[in-house]
Symmetry: C2
Subunit: 345 residues, 2 copies
Amino acid sequence: MFQEMAKIDDVARLANVSKGTVSNVFSQKRPTSKEVTERVLSVSKELNYTPNHIARSLVTKKTQAIGLTIPHGNFFFSAFHHQFINGVILEASRYGFRVLLDMIPQQEVKTPFLSNYPIDGAVVMSPAVEDERIRLLDAKNIPFVAIGKVMNGGIGSSLSVDSDNRKIIGDICRYLIKLGHRSIMFLNAGEQMTVSKERKNGFVQTLASQRIEVEEYMIHHKPAIDASDYLNYGYKETVNVLKRLDKKVTAIIADDDRTAFSAMNALKDLGLNVPHDISVFVICGDLSIMHQSSPSLTSMDLQPSELGMQSVKLLMHRLGVLKGSYPEQVIVESRIVERNSCVPI
Amino acid sequence: MFQEMAKIDDVARLANVSKGTVSNVFSQKRPTSKEVTERVLSVSKELNYTPNHIARSLVTKKTQAIGLTIPHGNFFFSAFHHQFINGVILEASRYGFRVLLDMIPQQEVKTPFLSNYPIDGAVVMSPAVEDERIRLLDAKNIPFVAIGKVMNGGIGSSLSVDSDNRKIIGDICRYLIKLGHRSIMFLNAGEQMTVSKERKNGFVQTLASQRIEVEEYMIHHKPAIDASDYLNYGYKETVNVLKRLDKKVTAIIADDDRTAFSAMNALKDLGLNVPHDISVFVICGDLSIMHQSSPSLTSMDLQPSELGMQSVKLLMHRLGVLKGSYPEQVIVESRIVERNSCVPI
DNA sequence: TTGTACGCGTTATCAC
DNA sequence: GTGATAACGCGTACAA
């Protein structure tokens, strides 16, 4: 009952053909006569034979798998991540590619035993400045698509799918300013994220263009992933600015759902009502951890699953699976979804 | 600049050792002298050499990857899935395993070219009766852990991680009955899911034990994944029962967030208020697609990420990565989280 | 079509 | 106990 897996030689022998022919029947790289094809197939079925994926990869140097690297610490994905992953998987499966979830191996290089990635290409989420994953992929000549701008020294052009971050933060600021807000607190992403740099610039520029002075208390950066106050970021900064510094903030822009939730908890503790006393705007729209939140949150929809799909599409082009010319950068549209957390002042 | 990847022979030559020694340095299967080890390592770094994962897999027959198969059609994961995946990934990475997301390939065996799964083991989510994936894994002798009961003919004992579904539905029913509800509609999972069978039985038994007659309109099953009304399941059934059949339902139990959301939309259209007119209970707690919902939903927390972690742990035992004896089945606790969608009648 | 030399490591087996 | 040698795994590709 515990039969060994049949090998190509077994099939070849029983079907009275050579290994090569069996290989061709399965790979269809060379035509084979109908007769032979059928014989091989029937023997294969009988022996329960399927080509060994590993052996094949060894020679073709293709694995039919792409890596998806997502930075993470000990915490869980946000809804943005989830939807993004959805998009990646869905699109990859359309081309017969499987998706290998890769946690960023930012920790263990204890033994310098970092095996070759058995992937044909990769999608890199949330690139940081001088991103280690990107350095690695580049060193190993593995094609990759980054979600966001790549800022690694020595790495020239690279493929990327991105939102227009300058525009996004600009739109948000203008939206809030139009509602009468001038004292806006921006809970930005981590400082090392390339995206946070763009958004910070956009924030400063937009406020300047609207003749609003950018004050120190307005811009904040999420701590590093392993910092103790990572999860409390929104809460801490909010309390700090509103209570300790006693600033009269009228609107908060939160980088993601978690941060928004955290900030709103702070507001609640401070006795402030959303949106009556203060407006809250979330950049990533879908809020898995906030189902208990009310009011619903006005947000910028980044279309994460679309980002995922486009990144795979681009990667498939790069891998030659999709033919034709392709751009080096794809921009996915974002748009404001008005809900109930932002109101006129 | 476009250097070929260094091979083990290159390292061996430059370090004045043999292939085998280089192999030993990396695999640490045999001790090597400190001196040699350092020389090999330094040369490796110089050449940017890392062992070829594929070649290694070919001989060891291990891939250091586990598959995670999730049934899906053309739609997106629910929050339950996401959290579950989180748990799996987190735990797998602790053992140096990568996770291969496998969508169930909807059985397109157009060419009978189904390559060997390059995985050491698998986690099977939402097993169905006579599940094809399980049949395949069993045929290929790939160890697997199922989330829920396996009901495949010919397959005896198998590892599984599960919630206590009988208890879950029983607890929910008793909770609702205690609130005074007696006319309860149960939007169950798909009929082909093993879990739905258990829950149905539990539902019937509990109501019977509370001397409530189980009527036809009470139990519903989600259509197949590819059915046109799959996404509208909750809506349709709700309208059907409440309006067409004119039943006086006072509580709805929804199998997942999507279904609950769908049903609540129906209630809204019918002019019914939750929880004032009708209570809603959700079985899977975290509701990514329901951030706009209010009130917040009382739910049964199945601890999906814990389920994911436990399943990997069990699989690691089965693969011999974790030593020691282990149970064949692990039960993960579930508990009711009271929010605002269920009230006394 | 067939034969056969690869690909790139690992794992005995053997020699020092 | 260490290091070197050779066979091996399972397909693919190319020449015959």
